[in-house]
């Protein structure tokens, strides 16, 4: 039985009860049920119909000489219902308005905060990058002009490298803010994950050589791995692979897998680094959290960007332990 017909049935019973006994208790229960009608969003016309139908049934079972009396008595319960209904409805409207205003106020505040944050990031990145380019430029000049003074040359090189590092951090903060803002629909395109991975390995080739990393690829099929993706998604895969190389010992092996997982393509990268403890497995995806690694450069928001980017594509990213030591990063993205 639906809630609607259940309430209707209940009211009919109470009406019958009242007409038989004239018990005040029935009126009190009718008053309570009227609040249920408001909560269930059942209109007064529907209730009136239920009232008249029940009343007609009762009248048809009543001797003619008593029918008028029954009819008169029946006005009291319906008055009770309507007054209580109206009072509860008035409350309901006031509550809804109050809630609407509160939610609107919160939404406005949130919009303001987001706008301020975006503005802050764009001003900050612009204002810091300008002087930074001067630092890079002049340290280049110092290196050129310092001729034989190797020490000064080395210092200037350090300054230049550090400035470039700051520049990269600003870039990733900007990317983070853009990914958070959301990716627009026009940015999506059908991409093949296998092609994307080849491009990534080409891009990282020098790093792989320097690090002596060996890459093992195990793809489930030779065919295509199509997904609906954007540049942000490609960067997410790049970031995860780049991390695996960065955090692995030199000359170690990294295994890349691409698997069919029903509606998704499942990508995995297994490294032989120090691994990530269980309590850090989710925390590393938060901003500015880094699995403690001295001497490794990074802004600490790379994985936060990665996670947001993957989730904006309806995907998931998580970490598991590598049975052979180290960890495995998995990414699933729905098939196109």
């Amino acid at each position: 039985m639906t809630h609607e017909s259940e309430l209707r049935e209940k009211y009919s019973e109470l009406l019958r009860g009242f007409l038989e006994s004239r018990d005040e208790r029935c009126l009190y229960d009718i008053e309570n049920i009227s609040k249920e009608f408001v909560r269930a969003n059942i209109g007064p016309d529907y209730i009136l119909e239920a009232h008249l139908n029940t009343l007609n049934e009762i009248i048809s079972e009543t001797p003619v000489d008593k029918a008028v009396q029954v009819y008169n008595n029946a006005s009291e319960p319906i008055f009770n219902l309507m007054v209580a209904y109206a009072t509860a409805y008035h409350d309901y409207i006031a509550m809804t308005e109050e809630r609407y205003l509160r939610e609107k106020r919160l939404a406005d505040e949130l919009n303001d905060a987001n706008r301020n944050q975006e503005m802050f990031i764009s001003i900050m990145s612009h204002d810091i990058r300008n002087p930074l380019s001067a630092v890079v430029g002049y340290s280049g000049l110092i290196q050129k002009r310092s001729k034989d003074n190797e020490k000064i040359k080395r210092f200037a090189e350090k300054i230049e490298k550090t400035a470039m590092e700051i520049d990269r951090m600003i870039e990733s903060i900007r990317t983070y803010s853009r990914v958070k803002k959301g990716i627009s629909e026009e940015d999506f395109d059908e991409i093949d994950l296998k092609t994307t991975l080849s491009e990534i390995f080409e891009f990282l080739d020098e790093k792989i050589q320097v690090h002596g990393t060996k890459i093992e690829k195990r793809y489930r099929t030779d065919g295509e791995y199509m997904v609906l993706g954007t540049e942000f998604l490609k960067n997410a895969y790049l970031n995860i692979i780049d991390n695996a190389i960065k955090y692995s010992p030199k000359n170690s092996m990294i295994s890349i897998t691409l698997d069919d997982a029903e509606t998704d393509w499942k990508f995995g990268v297994a490294d032989h680094g120090d691994g990530i403890s269980n309590e850090m497995k989710e925390a590393v995806f938060e901003r500015f959290t880094r699995n403690d690694k001295r001497g490794i450069k990074g802004s600490g928001i790379g994985l936060a960007i990665t996670k947001h980017a993957i989730e904006s594509h309806g995907g998931k990213v998580w970490i598991a332990d590598n049975p052979g030591g180290g960890c495995i990063f998995y990414i699933t993205v729905p098939k196109a």
Binding site: Y28, K35, N80, V83, D91, E98
Partner: protein, 133 residues
């Protein structure tokens, strides 16, 4: 004819029904029509229910009253419960601490002609409402 008066202790739902019943008898005697009797019953229900919900027990006094040139009914709902901390808020439409819909105080005020409330935190609450024929 002397003015009627009833005192109903409130400790459970049956007492609310009794208070409504007494309210109806007295309001009918005062000369209120059926619609106004219903308004008064509903107001009594709300006041008595508030006692149960917030103060657990209390008392409802119902009496016929006379003022210059008018005749009517007065309902006093008195409890020694926690009192109302933020009276302005409690009297605001749409505010509820009991959870869910309940006509509450603004609804009761709307049903009657006069409404007074005296409350002290830790001492209790007394609500007095009147309606004139």
């Amino acid at each position: 004819m002397s003015n009627s008066e009833e005192t109903i202790p409130i400790k459970d739902e049956y007492d609310i029904v009794a208070a409504r019943s007494a309210g109806k008898t007295i309001s009918s005697k005062c000369g209120f029509g059926l619609v106004d009797q219903t308004r008064i019953s509903t107001a009594i229900s709300e006041l008595a229910r508030n006692i149960l919900v917030y103060a657990v027990t209390g008392t409802v006094y119902i009496r016929e009253v006379d003022a210059t040139g008018k005749h009517g009914i007065e309902v006093v709902a008195e409890d020694h419960g926690p009192g109302i901390v933020n009276l302005d808020l409690a009297m605001t439409d749409g505010h509820t601490t009991g959870g869910g819909l309940g006509a509450g105080l603004p609804g009761t005020k709307r049903l009657m002609d006069e409404f007074e409330i005296v409350t002290a935190v830790g001492e209790g609450t007394t609500v007095t409402v009147r309606k004139w024929v």
